[in-house]
Symmetry: C2
Subunit: 228 residues, 2 copies
Amino acid sequence: MESGKSSKIAGLITTVSQLVLKDKRAIDLGKDQGDKIENCSMSKTMTRYVIRRGQIDDCSQISVLMRELAESEDYGDRVEVSEDDLRRDGFGDNPVFESIVLEDREADEESSILGYALFFMGFCSWKGRLLYLEDVYIDSEYRGTGLGIALLHTIAKISEERGCKAIQGTVVEWNTDVMKLYKRIGATDMTENDKYHLFAIGGTDVSRFAKARIPALNNGSQIVTCEL
Amino acid sequence: MESGKSSKIAGLITTVSQLVLKDKRAIDLGKDQGDKIENCSMSKTMTRYVIRRGQIDDCSQISVLMRELAESEDYGDRVEVSEDDLRRDGFGDNPVFESIVLEDREADEESSILGYALFFMGFCSWKGRLLYLEDVYIDSEYRGTGLGIALLHTIAKISEERGCKAIQGTVVEWNTDVMKLYKRIGATDMTENDKYHLFAIGGTDVSRFAKARIPALNNGSQIVTCEL
């Protein structure tokens, strides 16, 4: 998604540490506009957890967490997404999602990602620009530490910075933890309140329909589709 | 969304007329790879309805139809999207949606758009790349003619051409026409079948959260957010 890749989120150099701990070192870390992930690694001695943009090299660890999330929802057998899909669809020529990751700088490299959020920009024809939050996930061992809230807080800042009118996301009914988390920050359940249903048409059904002969127009007129 | 803007949908030069009517003129119209909307206008004498990519000049008419759609759902008072929002978010520097429109070449210019579909690309962490269908709308006078199916057929071709794993969309429970249309092409109601709920967190709540002090980490560690 070009919008995501290219937009500099100027306001996002304020740090969570700044808000929480009023830590002077954390403020210094963030205030330089040229600040990059590399610079963040310089803070290793003072900061254990870092929230940063997902990189292509994170796909392997994100993929593991993604499967954990699906398994925790008892849908592990439905996961069709591979590491390569993540690389292509999140970091290739035409990315369709963006990500942030939570890294533990004290862990070894292979298990350093403790959580991630996956999102993309969309549009609601009533409200306007939306941020679609597909996943927010924290490794089960680290729940209740505040790290999940910190990830969601970063997502809120991104949404705010890009002028999104709302954040939207789906939650399985029994996932009461996430529902509570969303409700704590003011979320509305559109399924409950406005009777919204989410529909999915699988790729094979889409293919069949795309290849099908569609009925002739009732009024006998002709219709043509331009190259799009 | 760069992916949408730049990708040429090579297969999409086949026409609906070709599928339905085996009309030689329609086939000729579409077979040139260099075919453009301008060329389509040459078919005025033979083709009444044209499905083409939405243009910035269509925003005024799309906006009218969008309001009609919301009013038909009894949500007219909730529409906050202006023509300018459509221009900026669909056709500006960082477009977040794409559109196709159905044009009546026999109508005058101000009322030539009879229907539209609005969509964007997204990602499901189980399935992969998705096409999100926000709206499919046909002016009420033209319902039941097959024009709505033709719009949806074009969306299916786009989804197929881009390798999307599924089309997803939301429908209000009482909008049985759209539910039937989706189910006819094989849609699953994820709210009914898998107990999925759609959540929305409004922009003002997001702002409040983004500006809030978040709780300190339970384990006393520090966390920092890099520039994203």
